[in-house]
Amino acid sequence: MMEKYNRRVKAADVTTPQSSQYGFLTGLSPQSTLPNFKQNEFSVVRQHEEFIWLHDSFVENEEYAGYIIPPAPPRPDFDASREKLQKLGEGEGSMTKEEFTKMKQELEAEYLAIFKKTVAMHEVFLCRVAAHPVLRKDLNFHVFLEYNQDLSVRGKNKKEKLEDFFKNVVKSADGVLVAGVKDVDDFFEHEKTFLLEYHNRVKDASAKSDRMIRSHKNAADDINRIASSLYTLGTQDSTDLCKFFLKVSELFEKTRKIEARVAADEDLKLADLLKYYLRESQAAKDLLYRRSRALVDYENANKALDKARAKNRDVLQAETSQQLCCHKFEKISESAKQELIDFKTRRVAAFRKNLVELAELELKHAKGNLQLLQSCLGVLKGNT
């Protein structure tokens, strides 16, 4: 069944930063033959918690143990923006009106950019699910997309969060034990070592890229303030020098916009890419963990069966149990292999796309900057 989801995400009207609602317009192309969907196009409003709920339902579903579960979208983080807005409000007295409005606009633009980014990340999650041949058929997924009432999914309360925490602790301890089991299969053994190293390095690169981009943004902000300061100097008088200052201030203003754009693009194409693959590689690791777990279970079941046969007690039970484990393990192994290969292909493609786009954008901005500088210098030299 070839279905193509055309998904357009339209941001809901978000009035306060706290709300994390997303409106989704889901469209199905005419080729859809899925009987479950009643209409071709429909839209619902979903909250961030509901996405998490969907993701968790995938993770907990044993049937999907053999797949890489698309990583959940990160929690929308408007804290930084909110803080800045607050600081701006406090500092309102100390700057001129123009400065204040300018900075306010800046912050609003930044906020909007963050918002767009989080929306995009939620969309990516859904698209990944929709693209997966098995996951797309999940019932929860359909409910998520269709049910136009509130899903009444509440965020986890304290008790549940605590349970989650312990579950994670157990899981990581277990993961260590299980990882020690050497795999007979070369492919998986190689994948295990590869993913472990890769994941760590991506984590490192992601953190460092964030820091680098933040410095870049700071520098761009400074240039903004320099532009304002030069403007004030330039308006003190109408001498030659003042005109000069005004011209330079104008240049810095424009240059600064470009620099800010560069930082934003680096963020989008590089930092986000790394963050995403950090999460995907974790999901892949989780898959390997589940497989190893299944392997261990299988081996244990074998041992139990042998023991039962030796004692000639509960043999049937042991047999069925062993069958189940074997079946589970093999199923996981089979799909896991394909998943991991797909993961690699996806990863290479994503990196290629983003790196190419990054380079192109850097070039575009640098050329823009260059042109600005050249024309400004031309004017300034002509005047002196």
């Binding site: 690169a205 700071n218 303030r225 030069l230 100097l233 070039l363």
Partner: protein
């Protein structure tokens, strides 16, 4: 650097001293119809600077075009130039070094300060023009003075806490008041401070704006003394060297300061007696601080009757500007720091990327990631240079002028003090006259007769000391102080105008240089990414 690469001494008021022996009337001084320069005293042969590098065709050296420009950047490219006399101090017929802006800009940020390769063309006589205040304000002096100084080769001398850094001060000139055309001496930082002290004592009474030397820094110097060769010490020394050079250039640019014997001694004399009053924690240092404090208090209590609103307006302008510059400087400082952060973070990120590339098992992607790491490495380099440019060109310019504006204010203070002196003398005179009048009323004819005789005889001031009475003394003092006050007023006015012109020029040239550096940066950035793009596309 080369903050005063253009040095145009202002026209001098020949007002009080009609100097003799002025050079022949100007010929060939038609700089595209620009007005010429006025020289004050000695036959300063004025030579013009060199034309700008981007005006392609250089006219034959006889024709002088004005403003030498960032041609000086070429010289900066390597400190080597300082040793290469022929290049450096080439005289007459010197074509402008039109170095490729690329190389020059790249290296312009590296430490060196090779003396400018500006030429001193054959001396061109300048015309002397009578000047009045209006003319002063209208005239555009374009000529540059024929003295070039450069400071190079900082070397640490001695060891331990007694160590110091000696700089080589090279001068090139064609003024006859110097012993030779090119010479150099070694000086240490305290020598510069000593020069400033001497100048301020002497010249400030006249209302001159004395350029300020860079500030002392106990922390910075201690590090250097202790012998650490880390980048921050190197930066500190370089910063100081550049600042000293700018300071000295400003001094020699100033026409009346250049005439000062102390300045000449500083430039020429091989062995300069150590300036001892310049140590931060010395007794003299404390005394200075106390004096400054008392001056400040004084200032607050004086309210001058300003007859000329020009001064008041100017003073407020200066204050406002100083404030603005301080703000701007703070922001530029912040930019420098953020750029340094960016630099460090980029380096770290590059390494991280390289590691990631290593662990990536798709070969093409792996290679692309390594390439990306290399690009980021180059970006780090770029950021570092940009940060240096931010600092050495922009931030230092601002901090120089913040302090210079302080000196300008000091100038105004001098004038105020002169006024104060005048007023005090007047009031003293008044008191004396009242005392005399009292005598009159007290009917002491003998004394009165005596006083009258004294007054009449005192009309001849130049000779018989016996006839000078107290009143006459004070009368003459009052006249003198009034004249002083007027003279200072005029000097201050002139100085401020000159200062403003210099400032405009300085700012323009420095900021343009800064922008040029940014331009270079962007060009290189483009190259880096252009090299990377095919690698990225090659990922399969």
């Amino acid at each position: 650097m080369a903050a005063s690469s253009d040095r145009n001494p202002p026209p001098f008021p020949a007002a009080e001293d009609p100097e003799p022996g002025l050079v022949d009337p100007a010929d060939g001084d038609s700089d595209e119809g620009e007005d010429i320069f006025v020289s004050k005293t000695n036959p300063v042969s004025v030579s013009r600077g060199v034309s700008q590098p981007d005006r392609g065709a250089e006219d034959p050296p006889d024709l002088f075009s004005e403003e030498e420009e960032a041609s000086s950047t070429t010289a900066k490219s390597n400190g080597v130039h300082s040793d290469d006399d022929s290049d450096l101090f080439a005289e007459a017929h010197m074509e402008l070094n039109t170095d490729k802006p690329g190389s020059s800009a790249k290296k312009e940020l590296s430490a060196s300060s090779g003396p400018r390769s500006t030429s001193t063309s054959t001396q061109s006589p300048a015309a002397m023009q009578p000047t009045s205040l209006e003319q002063l304000e209208e005239e555009e002096a374009k000529d540059s003075f024929d003295v070039d100084v450069a400071i190079t080769n900082p070397e640490k001398v001695g060891d331990g806490m007694n160590a110091y850094v000696a700089y080589k001060v090279s001068t090139r000139t064609s003024l006859t008041m110097f012993r030779s055309k090119t010479f150099s001496v070694r000086r240490r930082f305290s020598d510069f401070l000593g020069l400033y002290e001497k100048l301020s004592v002497k010249q400030s009474l006249h209302g001159c704006i004395i350029p300020l030397p860079p500030e002392k820094s106990v922390v910075g110097m201690t590090k250097v003394k202790v012998g650490m060769d880390d980048p921050s010490s190197v930066e500190f020394v370089e910063r100081r060297r550049a600042a000293l050079e700018r300071y000295l250039q400003r001094v020699v640019c100033h026409p009346s300061l250049l005439q000062d014997a102390d300045v000449r001694e500083f430039l020429e004399r091989d062995d300069l007696p150590r300036a001892l009053n310049t140590q931060a924690l010395s007794g003299a240092g404390f005394l200075k601080m106390i004096n400054k404090a008392s001056d400040a208090v004084n200032k607050m209590t004086i309210k001058m009757n300003e007859s000329d609103t020009w001064f008041e307006d100017k003073f407020q302008e200066v204050e406002a500007e100083e404030q603005q510059l301080r703000k701007l400087h703070a922001v530029v400082d912040s930019l420098v720091n953020h750029r340094k952060d960016l630099c460090g973070n980029t380096a770290v990120f590059a390494k991280s990327m390289a590691m990631l590339g290593n662990s990536e098992d798709n070969t093409a992607l792996s290679r692309a990631l390594s390439q990306l790491a290399e690009v980021e490495d180059k970006m780090e380099q770029l950021h570092q240079e940009q940060a240096a440019s931010d600092f050495f060109i922009f931030a230092e310019l601002l901090s120089d002028y913040i302090r210079l504006l302080g000196a300008v204010r000091g100038c105004f203070d001098q004038r105020m003090r002169a006024w104060q002196r005048w007023q005090e003398a007047q009031s003293t005179l008044q008191k004396k006259r009242e005392a005399e009048a009292k005598l009159l009323w007290a009917n002491k004819p003998e004394k009165l007769q005596q006083a009258k005789e004294d007054i009449t005889e005192s009309s001849n001031r130049s000779g018989s000391t016996a006839s000078i009475t107290v009143i006459c003394l004070w009368e003459s003092r009052v006249t003198q102080y009034e004249r002083d006050f007027d003279r200072i007023g005029m000097t201050v006015r002139k100085e401020v105008l000159r200062f403003e012109k210099e400032k405009a020029k300085d700012f323009k040239s420095q900021i343009m240089k800064y922008l040029e550096a940014m331009l270079q940066s962007q060009q290189r950035l483009i190259k880096f990414w252009e090299a990377f793009l095919p690698e990225a596309k090659a990922i399969a």
